[in-house]
């Protein structure tokens, strides 16, 4: 037996792992009985069900001939790393440094996600978006977003 469909195989693996993890975690909580289901009743059942679906998916992905259309192409890492770093960075900085510092940094970083990135454009965009966000969200909508760095 070989893997016929890579996408289906790995989807199955993900389902099995996550399902079992939840089911195992659920054993920490009282299961109860069907008449008085406890907090662990549903997570355990759902987790096992997901693992079963994963097994079905995985078995269905096995076969003799390899299906090339279902191969997982290797991702381009740059956009993912950059976008995730920008979002997590924004989460860290926003409450500490305020939006007037955070947004330009985050926007310039986000712009790096593509290779057709130009410094002048990124800085221009950062300036426009930061000013626009401040006007729209802080001045017009009066949302409570930290604007300036908080004093330590």
């Amino acid at each position: 037996m070989r893997i016929k469909s890579e996408v289906d195989f790995w989807s199955g693996v993900v389902f099995i792992v996550v399902g079992l993890a939840f089911a195992m975690g659920a054993t920490e909580y009282r299961f109860g009985t069907s008449a008085r289901p406890g907090p662990g009743y549903f997570p355990l059942g759902l987790g096992l069900l997901l693992a079963i679906v994963g097994i079905i998916e995985l078995i269905g992905a096995l076969g003799r001939e390899r299906n090339d259309a279902d191969r997982i192409t290797s991702p381009i890492w740059r956009p993912m790393l950059v976008i995730v770093a920008a979002v997590l960075g924004a989460g860290f900085l926003l409450p500490r440094a305020g939006m007037l510092i955070t947004l330009p940094l985050v926007i310039v970083l986000t712009c790096l996600a593509t290779s057709d990135f130009k410094f002048r454009e990124a800085f221009g965009l950062a300036a426009v978006l930061t000013l626009g966000s401040w006007l729209l969200f802080v001045v017009a909508l009066e949302l409570r977003i930290p604007v300036m760095p908080t004093k330590i």
Binding site: R36, L50, L88
Partner: protein, 500 residues
């Protein structure tokens, strides 16, 4: 007649200057975010939420509703002109709409989408006005078993109607239900799967999850595709009026799409996205010339666009009458109502008739505004599309981050969205659709609570779900749907096996 006097009340409310202004604001924002690829109604409404709590509830809901159905109009423009779904319910519109644009018929495609949406929106609103009171009446007879069965039907509906493999969709729904288990158990007060993180005891914020999966995840996915293949047809937008031949072909599609959308919108788990997919499949199947599909068939634009707009209107029915969110947007609306002191459910209509009928009447007015906003003023939106994607995605990231922060004035949701961006990209790579997951997450806690109440009352006897007439019917319906979905899948797999 009752309906007319109610609608008269509604129009009285909706036509006040303040509510007209909010309706216009809502549909304008809706069109804008619909046109912008990668920014859907969920993040937009999430961003608006904190600023509307101080408003009059009727005005606030009129605006939020406008954002939702406005996005259905705007999404088609992007789909047709640049082959990117501006909004996830326009994914199928891109298939034939873009091909029409390549043949220089962008105007006709836009007009078919706009006029179809307008017709569907009007019908959908009427359906809402006519059936919501009746359903609210039935809802008073609903116990936990019926609610649980209805949600089960919705989840299975989402599985059946999802594109792609059934087993993956089942897995994604279960995954969503499990993510919904991260919370404080409503019945026993036990904190589950919180790992000592206080923010997790209220459950995963589904706005953060949605923005991570659909907002950031999609951006990463888009950037993984070569950008040269995208051609923008913005200069060809003239001759908006379709030809007689177009009308003849599009009209039946619009009618079918409207009927389908109105029906699927009511189903929990239905809503605009599924309606558009099913409509496209249906049009292709009933067409005498299915080979035209994928090469610029106007039915492939008119049908799904009508369906998604009709569904956008009728998906308010379960929300307003049962308090069940059929999709994430409605879950946000329910959240907004609760904060403003209105308990969603069958009592809304009795206790807040002004809000209920005002909202419905405003949808008709909003649709009228949208057709004006989207056809004569199409030029404005087209200009917006000439902005290259490398400017758009940083803007979307910027707005999403602000929206996430303002949700609860806490940066936890930003981190959460960052994590789900990775997960979303993984799903794209594994060709797992994230829609069913989100629905499972939204309905999960409610489903669990109702199922557990059912079991408590029935002393652990699962069969009550089958023996009570309403819930039994709903369960039977779900089983039929699931089996009918599995059969062709089995057949197809066999066919493939034979071909190998």
């Amino acid at each position: 007649m009752d309906l007319f006097s109610n609608l008269a009340t509604g129009f009285g409310v909706a036509l006040s200057l303040q509510n007209l202004a909010f309706a216009l604001g809502g549909v304008f924002i809706g069109t804008l975010i619909g046109v912008l690829p990668g920014l859907g109604p969920v993040p937009a409404i999430a961003m608006l939420l904190p600023s509307i709590y101080t408003l009059d509830p009727t005005a606030a809901l009129i605006m939020l509703a406008g954002v939702y159905y406005g996005a259905q109009y705007g999404g088609s423009t992007t789909a047709i002109l640049i082959n990117l779904p501006g909004e996830s319910s326009s994914i199928v519109t891109a298939i034939d709409g873009y091909q029409m644009a390549r043949k220089g018929r962008a105007g006709a495609a836009l007009a078919a989408a706009g006029l179809g949406s307008f017709f569907a929106g009007c019908v959908g609103t009427l359906v809402l006005a006519a059936f919501a009171p009746a359903l609210a009446g039935i809802a008073f007879a609903f116990g936990p078993a019926e609610y649980a069965a209805l949600m089960l039907l919705g989840l299975i509906g989402a599985v059946v109607l999802a594109s792609g493999s059934v087993s993956k969709a089942v897995g994604m729904v279960l995954l969503g239900l499990l993510l919904g288990q991260i919370n404080t158990d409503p019945l026993s007060g036990v904190e589950r799967f919180s790992f000592g993180i206080p923010e997790l005891t209220d459950g995963l914020g589904f706005v953060a999850v949605a923005m991570g999966l659909f907002g950031f995840g999609e951006i990463i996915g888009n950037l993984n595709r070569p950008s040269e293949s995208r051609e923008v047809f913005t200069r060809d937008v003239k001759n908006l009026w379709p030809t007689g031949e177009d009308f003849r072909q599009a009209m039946p599609a619009v009618l079918r799409g409207t009927a389908l959308g109105s029906l699927l919108g009511v189903l929990p788990g239905g809503g605009a996205i599924l309606a558009s997919f099913v409509s496209y499949t249906l049009e292709k199947r009933v067409s005498k010339t299915p080979e035209r599909f994928g090469h610029g068939a106007i039915e492939g634009v008119a049908g799904p666009e009508s369906a998604n707009n009709a569904a956008a209107q009728t998906s308010f029915i379960p929300m307003l009458t049962l308090g069940i969110p059929p999709n994430p947007v409605m879950a946000l609306m329910i959240g907004a109502m609760v904060v403003m002191g209105i308990t969603p459910g069958p009592k809304v209509m009795v206790e807040n008739p002004d809000l209920f009928w005002g909202l419905i009447a405003s949808m008709w007015i909003g649709n009228l505004m949208l057709i004006i906003l989207n056809l004569p003023f199409i030029g404005i939106w087209v200009k917006l599309l000439t902005v290259p994607y490398r400017f758009l995605f940083p803007s979307i990231v910027c707005f999403c981050v602000i929206g996430l922060y303002t949700l609860s004035n806490n940066n936890f949701d930003i981190y959460l969205a960052g994590v789900f961006a990775i997960i979303g990209f993984l799903f794209i790579k594994l060709r797992c659709e994230a829609g069913p997951l989100l629905l499972g997450m939204v309905l999960g806690p409610m489903l669990e609570e109702n199922l557990r109440r059912t079991l408590l009352v029935a002393r652990g006897d699962w069969s009550v779900l089958l023996t009570r007439p309403i819930s039994g019917t709903l369960i039977a319906l779900s089983v039929v749907m699931l089996v009918s979905a599995l059969l062709p899948a089995i057949r197809k797999r066999r066919d493939n096996a034979f071909r190998d």
